[in-house]
């Protein structure tokens, strides 16, 4: 069982659904307040969707300087899994833990509806239970969802297989290369704009998002099978 810290910022509003999504997948999920500096031996960290600090200046620009973010960055540096959903993705970009930035939707409107995405890579802690090329229906709910990166960075993401999810059919926000989610070079930090926690049970209209959370537990099981155990909140070879 993974210990999953769900960070709560002033303005987060998907924190409860995200914690419940992780719990439904079998994780020991709990909240960490943005002023905390200790992730309490988290195996994985999720920055949930919603808003943060009014998203003044730019979405995520002020949240990235929250006291908790130093611990999140350190967790990421040590290879710990980190997932940013929507506003969490924006915060990870602002913090420099992911490349690029998220700008105002090309057609300005706040969009809240299901979209189709294709799973491009499965070698991240958050996508390993999907099939490569599998198409999902997952809701988006964002005003600032247009992923941009300079051409060199975008080409690098493509070449290194770091585009995790891509919009198919229609691109709702005008993002570069139809990007809906990316990961860092170490592949442990993932950011996605759609909300898997809003599609993880039949009662929510589908279960396409559930494997994001289940993947983490599968990852954990695999690591245990490989003779790895958690020490002080981090994985270490026996």
């Amino acid at each position: 069982m993974h210990r999953v810290a769900v960070v709560v910022f002033p303005g987060s509003n998907c924190d409860a659904d995200t914690r419940d999504g992780a719990r439904a997948a079998g994780s020991d999920a709990y909240y960490v307040w943005h002023r905390d500096t200790d992730l309490r031996q988290a195996d994985a960290v999720i920055l949930p969707g919603g808003f943060s600090y009014g998203d003044y200046l730019r979405s995520g620009a002020i949240a990235r300087f929250s006291p908790v973010m130093a611990a999140v960055a350190e967790h990421a540096r040590q290879g710990g899994p980190v997932l940013g959903i929507c506003n969490g993705f924006q915060i990870l970009c602002e913090a420099g833990l992911l490349p690029g930035a998220l700008m105002r939707n090309a057609r300005l409107r706040f969009l809240s509806r299901p979209v189709r995405v294709r799973v491009e890579v499965t070698d991240t802690p958050w996508t390993r239970l999907y099939e490569q090329g599998e198409e999902l229906v997952v809701p988006v709910a964002h005003g600032d969802g247009r992923y941009v990166a300079d051409e060199r960075t975008a080409a690098e993401l493509e070449a290194e297989g770091r585009i995790v999810w891509r919009y198919v059919g229609e691109n709702p926000n005008g993002s570069t290369r139809d990007i809906a989610g990316v990961c860092n070079a170490g592949r442990n930090v993932v950011g996605i704009m759609p909300h898997p926690e809003r599609r993880n049970a039949p009662v929510l209209g589908g279960t396409d998002g559930a494997r994001v959370f289940l993947s983490l537990e599968a990852d954990h099981a695999t690591q245990h099978a490989g003779g790895v155990r958690a020490v002080g909140g981090h994985h270490a070879e026996l």
Partner: protein, 84 residues
């Protein structure tokens, strides 16, 4: 120490789509301002600060822009520093 007033202009990078600017441009056309070409919308931030010299005030303001006030991926900024 002296007081300075720094005006900071943050603009979306020219190569990037600025839908807000486009929407404002369309509204100006709708009002009959047919002469309007491209419109871009940015931010104007005014910071008052204390510094020993104007150069130091400029350096500090530049650091604020790079760390917080502008996003280096999507925005450019300009500074105007004057004695307050």
């Amino acid at each position: 120490m002296a007081s300075f007033r720094v005006e900071i202009r943050v603009m979306p990078r020219a190569s990037l789509l600025d839908p807000q600017g486009q929407a404002v441009g369309h509204a100006l056309h709708a009002l009959g301002f047919a002469e309007v070409g491209e419109v871009r919308v940015g931010k104007h931030i005014v910071v008052r600060l204390e510094a020993p010299t104007r150069d130091e005030a400029t350096a500090r303001a530049r650091s604020m822009c790079e760390r917080l006030l502008a996003n280096p991926v999507t925005e450019d900024y300009q500074l105007l520093v004057e004695a307050a």
